[in-house]
């Protein structure tokens, strides 16, 4: 009788926590598809320059530079760049900022009228003798601090739901998990 009631409790626990876990996962994917996750990450500008989508010109070369049209777009679509000041909210689809200093130097990016010409989207740099790939992705991007709190809260809730679901599952199938007795040495 006791075994049967344990089994029933386990089944209820498993079903309830599975439903909650699914709801949490659906909520997460909704956040992803409506672009909220991206907005949390690509939130504000750390410095002034031009907001760009660095993925759109990662194949550009000196011979075939990518020409980015400058304008105050709300959403970057393809080869576009949006002038931005420090602390401004980033336009949608922006993945990095080309700073004014880089444009002034004119080696990697040059300003020609209303167009930014990207000639070197990534380069191997050296620092203290070590090589690394330097791109415009994530450059000058500040994340939403509330997004951080949301992310941690979400992860802990998801972990709790999945853990409780798994506990319900082992109870449901009748797996007996008892406390370990911690004896050290000879007894």
């Amino acid at each position: 009788m006791a075994k049967e009631s344990h089994h029933v409790r386990g089944t209820i626990k498993f079903v309830v926590w599975t439903a909650i876990s699914v709801a949490v996962c659906v909520y997460f994917w909704a956040q992803y598809y409506n672009g909220n996750l991206m907005k949390q990450y690509y939130y504000k500008a750390k410095f002034a320059g031009w907001a760009v989508n660095a993925m759109t010109f990662d194949q550009a070369t000196k011979d075939k530079p990518a020409a980015l049209q400058i304008g105050s777009f709300e959403k970057i679509e393809g080869l576009q760049a949006v002038p931005i000041k420090k602390g401004d909210l980033l336009p949608a689809n922006a993945t990095g900022i080309i700073d004014e200093k880089t444009v002034k130097e004119g080696k990697r990016v040059a300003l020609e009228g209303n167009t930014l010409k990207v000639m070197i989207p990534s380069q191997i740099k050296e620092s203290k003798g070590f090589a690394f790939r330097d791109t415009f992705t994530h450059k000058g991007v500040e994340t939403d601090p509330w997004g951080g709190a949301w992310a941690v809260g979400f992860i802990l809730i998801l972990g709790f739901c999945l853990g409780s679901m798994a506990e319900g599952f082992t109870d449901m199938i009748g797996m007996k998990i008892s406390k370990i007795k911690h004896y050290e040495g000879v007894h």
């Binding site: 992803y32 993925m55 500040e142 951080g148 992860i155 798994a166 370990i180 911690h182």
Partner: protein, 358 residues
Amino acid sequence: MFEFAIAGIEAPIFLLVLTGMTVGIVGGFIGVGGGYMVTPALIVFGFPGYMASGIDVTHIAGKSVVATIRHRQLGNIDWILGLAMVGGTMMGVEMGVRLLNLTKALGLSTIALLFGSVAIMIGLFIYTQIETHRSHKEIDKLTASGATVGRELKVSRIPHFFQSIALRPIIRCHTARIVVSMWVVVIIGVFTGVLAGFFGVGGGFIRVPALVYLVGASTHIAVGTDLLEIVVSGGYGALRQFMSGNVDMIAVFFMIIGAMVGAQFGSIATSFVRGPAIRYILSYSLGLATVGAFLRLVYMLTAQKYKVLNFAAVVFTLGEMIFLTLFILSLVLFAVRFRSGKWVPPWIPALVVQKDEE
């Protein structure tokens, strides 16, 4: 292939789920987040060093909740010990994240992470190998003389020194059956927290040996208590990493799904074995992870000229996780055979427990 828009790379989902699952098994069993394996693995999959570190610590926070729930059920958590350590751990994590951001600003994050991992893991691998081998031999000797050996046996004398430090306040940990100065526990928390924040790991790969060899907890208690600790340090580390722009939540999500399954198996598997078995796996995981990280380090130091080194690093990192998972699976299998009186290799009886020994 899935496009991870935040990380700015493309990678197959199954690799992340598989990584989460295998590291979940290993982590649930040896009480570590598994970051020392995951960070190099994510770098190998193409994630930037700082992003690998952030994804890792965030997924570890969630996975540790899953494993902690199970270890609580197994009675492997000493709440007093865990809570005493939390403050130091948090402070350490903050210092570690700042250190990571400094190296990131210098464009050195990948190199610094790999170099640091290799150095620490080699030292820990050697010590745990020697101590565990001696404990294993001692259990064999005692069993041969007809004694009943408990779930734990250590030959290290270091805990006696740390437990003799009479600096108030002194804490009494009933589940772990130890009495120790709170300052010892806090300082260990700070030190492991720095590593946790910097490497983007839970810090377990150093905290579990520290709890066992310095504080004197049994390996099972160290595993469970450490996972509780990782929930806090991982959660705080995840917050800092996210605010520093080092986290791709989609990658984290896929890894947690895999880890949920793995952590269950790993946690439950601890009930089949003695302390030295857990320490062996911990030691081997450190050793194998070192080889993978070392290959990657050489590849970076040679300006990414020799692609074969990168390929070997991929093979090693993935192979390591699969090897450890299979090792744990076989230990459980042998434990079940041993309990039912069937043949097992001669090195097994000292590492597993009979049901009535529990």
